[in-house]
């Protein structure tokens, strides 16, 4: 069943008075339970595309259909895990996780029950009463994932959520995210500029080309889980994507090759 559909999304930006085409007709079909990774060079518009799905930005033309219904505004049916710094420092961890539920007017007892469940899932139970400044970057992203899942969204949007993590923490979370995906059967769209992340996580990898962006190619990855970063069998997917991206990536940043 098709969960989400992006139809010919076009988006321009104003840059020093010039109109720059960021997204030049992006089409995407997301099936229920898909783990989609969108990979592309920095600045190619992939985060903009995710924001449009979230309803945080409006496309100039084209539409997003969720369960065949067009969406325009932000909604808790499409929760987002941001790159970093999106947790509310004035709230305790548990209140951060409950924020969306509170906005939806869910009574306190019920909120507590739901938040406890997701804090457990992300192994955060003993940090429930901490404030975010007391947490490491990795712990913060765990909270952000718990907060997004607590809304029980139709689709989970992740915008380079592991970009600021050290590699050990990232490897751990890459495994955990796969387990969570299998357990919750959530549909996930995960944006990254890191090719190995996309290979480890995605069952479909969408390769964005440089601006003006559209999807250059879709790569299917049918491989057992949980996939580990060091698994050599994933290399061939990595190289396939790398070949596709090379011209785009080289132009942008050598760091992304690491």
């Amino acid at each position: 069943m098709t969960k989400l559909q992006a139809k010919n999304i076009i988006k321009h930006f104003d840059h020093n008075g010039n109109s720059v085409v960021a997204l030049d007709g992006v089409n995407l079909k997301v099936e229920e339970g898909d783990f989609i990774c969108i990979v592309g060079p920095s600045g190619c518009g992939k985060s903009t595309f995710l924001n449009i799905i979230a309803g945080l930005e409006k496309p100039d033309s084209g539409e997003i259909l969720l369960n065949d219904k067009p969406i325009s505004d932000p909604g808790p049916d499409r929760t987002m895990v941001f790159q970093e710094g999106a947790l509310f420092p004035w709230l305790k961890v548990i209140d951060n996780v409950e924020f969306g539920l509170k906005m939806a007017g869910i009574p306190k007892d019920e909120r507590r029950e739901i938040s406890q469940r997701y804090l457990d899932m992300m192994q955060l139970t003993k940090f429930a009463d901490s404030y975010t400044y007391q947490l490491s970057t990795g712990m913060k992203q765990r909270v952000a994932i718990a907060r997004a899942l607590a809304m029980d969204p139709e689709i989970l949007l992740m915008d380079e959520p592991f970009a600021a993590l050290d590699s050990q923490t990232r490897d751990l979370l890459l495994v955990e995210l796969q387990l969570i995906w299998e357990r919750t059967k959530k549909t996930i769209i995960f944006v990254t500029h890191n090719i190995s992340e996309s290979v480890i996580l995605g069952n479909k990898v969408e390769i964005f080309k440089n601006r003006p962006s559209k999807i250059k190619k879709e790569i299917l990855i049918d491989y057992r889980r949980p996939r580990l970063a060091e698994d050599v069998n994933l290399q061939k997917y990595y190289h396939e994507i790398l070949q596709e991206l090379k011209s785009e990536v080289m132009a942008r940043s050598r760091d992304d090759l690491k």
């Binding site: 710094g85 420092p89 924020f99």
Partner: protein
């Protein structure tokens, strides 16, 4: 470290009192111009015992708190409108900057004409002193909210008033607090000035009463009380609040 600073301060103030006593005993300044620390202490003790000092402090603080609450509510609303609607900032915002430059004591004559020497008059001076600084700081606070907070709030279904109260105001709190602190400082000066000129109950009144009765101990004693209240509110209430918020908001290690 902290206790070390505390001891230094104790020593310093003790030194001042000793020097003060020496000046008094040696008559460097004639005694009708400078009371002894003991005379001031005795007077403050007497006024504490008969309740007049506490009554005056209570009266001044009551006017201050009522005025500040009005100024905070009004300042928040004005500041949010200034931040959200450009034309409001370009017009009312520029007026706020002008009004903020008026010293609080300059509002006293107007307050007297409008309200007479009443509580309402002093409260007006407090509001006029604090409102503009608070609204200006609220405006910068809202403008400087990291966009990710707003995006996250909207993403989780907050909109309109919900977004303002649950995301924008708490996110702007570090700025709001410095606005409140500034507002309090202006308001405190304003309320004392109004009480001196109106000559109606309160610390300012006691100060003025000392002048009329030529009682130098009274004038000196009340000045010390006004200073101590200032230190307590600034150093304890606001400093602690600010430190806590800066740490929690991750703006300070």
């Amino acid at each position: 470290m902290k206790t070390k600073i505390f001891y230094k301060q104790i020593l310093f103030y003790a030194g001042i009192i000793v020097a003060w006593q020496v000046i008094f005993v040696t008559h460097v300044i004639p005694s009708q111009d400078l009371p002894s620390p003991l005379q001031v202490g005795q007077l403050l003790f007497k006024e504490t015992a008969n309740g007049s000092l506490l009554y005056a402090i209570g009266t001044s603080m009551w006017r201050l708190v009522v005025g500040l609450i009005i100024a905070i509510v009004g300042g928040l609303i004005l500041g949010i409108f200034m931040a959200k609607i450009d034309v409001v900032n370009q017009t009312i915002g520029s007026l706020m900057l002008g009004l903020q430059s008026i010293p609080s004591v300059a509002w006293v004559p107007l307050a007297l004409l409008w309200f007479g020497p009443t509580d309402a008059g002093t409260i007006f001076v407090v509001v006029a002193g604090a409102l503009f600084a608070i609204s200006i700081n609220t405006h910068s606070g809202i403008k400087n909210i990291p966009p990710t907070y707003i995006a996250a709030g909207r993403n989780m279904g907050a909109s309109g008033l919900q977004l303002i109260t649950n995301v924008m105001i708490p996110a702007a709190l570090p700025y709001l607090i410095s606005g409140f602190k500034q507002g309090w400082a202006y308001a405190w000066r304003g309320v004392i000035a109004a009480e001196i000129i109106f000559s109606i109950a309160g610390l300012g009144f006691l100060l003025n009463f000392g002048k009329h009765t030529n009682d130098i101990s009274q004038v000196t004693g009340i000045l010390i009380i006004i200073m101590i209240i200032g230190i307590l509110v600034d150093g304890f209430v606001f400093k602690k609040l600010e430190a806590k918020i800066l740490v929690r908001w991750g703006l300070l290690k």
